[in-house]
Subunit: 423 residues, 2 copies
Amino acid sequence: MNAITLSIGNELVLGQTVDTNSAWLGRELAAVGCDVVAHITVGDDQPAIVSAITDAAQRCDLLLISGGLGPTKDDLTREALARVLNQPLEINEIWIGQMEKMFQRLGRVMVESNRVQALIPRGARLLTNLAGTAAGIDADFILPGSSRSCRIFAMPGVPVEMRAMFQREVRPQLIAAGGGRVIISRTLHTFGIGESALGEMVADLMNRSRNPLVGTTVSEGGVSLRITSRESSRSEAEEKLERTIAECRRILGDLVYGSDEQTLPMVIAELLTRDVLRRVSTAESCTGGLLAKMLTDVPGSSRYFQRGWITYSNDAKMELLDVDAATIFSHGAVSEEVTRAMAGAARRKSGADFGLAISGIAGPDGGTAAKPVGTVCIALAHPSGDAARTFRLPGDREMVRDRSAKMALTLLRYHLIATPMPF
Amino acid sequence: MNAITLSIGNELVLGQTVDTNSAWLGRELAAVGCDVVAHITVGDDQPAIVSAITDAAQRCDLLLISGGLGPTKDDLTREALARVLNQPLEINEIWIGQMEKMFQRLGRVMVESNRVQALIPRGARLLTNLAGTAAGIDADFILPGSSRSCRIFAMPGVPVEMRAMFQREVRPQLIAAGGGRVIISRTLHTFGIGESALGEMVADLMNRSRNPLVGTTVSEGGVSLRITSRESSRSEAEEKLERTIAECRRILGDLVYGSDEQTLPMVIAELLTRDVLRRVSTAESCTGGLLAKMLTDVPGSSRYFQRGWITYSNDAKMELLDVDAATIFSHGAVSEEVTRAMAGAARRKSGADFGLAISGIAGPDGGTAAKPVGTVCIALAHPSGDAARTFRLPGDREMVRDRSAKMALTLLRYHLIATPMPF
């Protein structure tokens, strides 16, 4: 089943909002065996939406629209869809009732403009929205002059509403429709190694004619391997996928920290709690709380993380973490010596098993010839000593901070798996 | 000048990576007066890329491609573009020399696969990459059977490389090409008010036939107003834009915290440093460092932020911030009383002007009937007292944490502008 996603919104074409819906839908569609051939985005312009729907419907069996179902005048998906289907819009009274209940529960009054959110083209089906007031639409579009049809699902653009609606209302229907090839895909994540170096390691597996297909992708400072298997049966697709994944893991070893939805913080959580529970405390300068934020991204993180210090100034380092003024004076705040002292204090003062500390120059200012922007020191204090490393990380302030926190997690990860960090 | 962006990558259609390039390019293109009519995304499949380029070129004067220029076998943009242009690929020796220098500087060896990154279709121009090894391509595609041409720029998919290349190599050429209508767009940001309530306030300005056009968009927990002006001259577009912005600001008043690229942390930074310098310290429970991370997102934040505490456990709240065990016992860790105590201690122990504290239930577990997931208490300690508020924030763990931190910044913002918070 060929699928296309269509995102609608001026804020998307003008770039004021990043479209995360297409990626999410792409993942979900692939998981149920749909072949996603394209993502398309157009603005809040009725002729453009009508033509995008009409064109896309020629090229796919399934069109997933998100956006343009809000209560305001720039929400035009309902009208455009009614035009394409050549049907009038009708108020769905059941949905009006649902909306009134929703507003009551929130103690708010339903405004008149919300009523348009219950409009559905005649003959189409309503999709329930559990997280908001815009009803979704499920319609069959019979292509003019053809017996072929394209199934169209129109959903709200607000990610939390779209996701809930897809999961509850759309996915079960796609699975029921079934049919066609099975495409399954998995991802192995690395952090700290470059894309071309990784590509060379698995070059033999990256041949374009190979199935499963192996590709590299750079995201959020790390490099991931995507392995995609396309077969006529799920069992065959899964078996071949597993074999290629095993091959990739054999070649890359501990460079792979996780797979699929696994993040570095999730892997750390797993390592800290697997056999005996161990705890970590943080001491951060340039990352300003980001390392602790990552550690607490994981539900249940209170088991292994209980406190952290953000010591952005030298005074804070001295007063909260007992770093010697002399150490700062002779080595600089961005030094392995100071970072070791921070990590040691975080461990000691919290009674945690590990203290993890970062001090660096995130930029854009503050760099020197000896310590340019991107210079970051990371230290880990552990029960039998400590370790410290210095890196020069590329990118802007946001990237340097993000990579610093991930490098600190990586240092902890290699300690937890009792393996020397290879970079 | 009509423009289309084309993003290439299996990781994008399969949704393993969110495409941020299209949004960024959309913003940049609008800013130089291009009318972005669509974003398109296709996978690493040569026929699909060839057909996407050919189709898009029919519908626009300018096609900006990102992705598929990497060193690995799944990077097919060069080959597809050569096919569309009907020209052979040739090694660009100047770029080979540049790459060798780059690898030397990084103390690494250039691997053979990097050589393909210097391939350019005959007759096309090379675009320098300051941040990586993939050369970009600048080509004119004369549409078959027509005298019309489409200018094609192919850039790497890694955002930092693409952005640097666009700014240095592409934008100047687009400005020089000039011509056509001027489209300028600005955004006003609010946090804390719902989309339909905001839409009702500015309903008269949201008429579809109006120019400048006003639209609402929900992003990252806030609601923004986009104002887009399209005129034949820049001065006229700017004048009309300013007039509509003034009208929106008059209606919304202090609900608007900032505009365009301004973020809440940037606005706080400005308010804290504008007349006299004032400092803030943080004490966080459920946000686990995110509030401090946001405050330090801004370059130069060390002036107004110097330290923060992450007290995730009750023990940490008592030991680091002197919160009374009795207060926690009688009101619970998620209470205005405990949050006030945290904020007061953060202020007192740091000597800062303000202490800002958060304690809440981010979920997915830990909710009760009286305090369901999403219950968050926020407190501000200031030189003449303190303030505390309780919210029930919607969404998942990530959203609750994000909105909690932004709500805390909003509480501080209203204090700094000496206005009662209206929600």
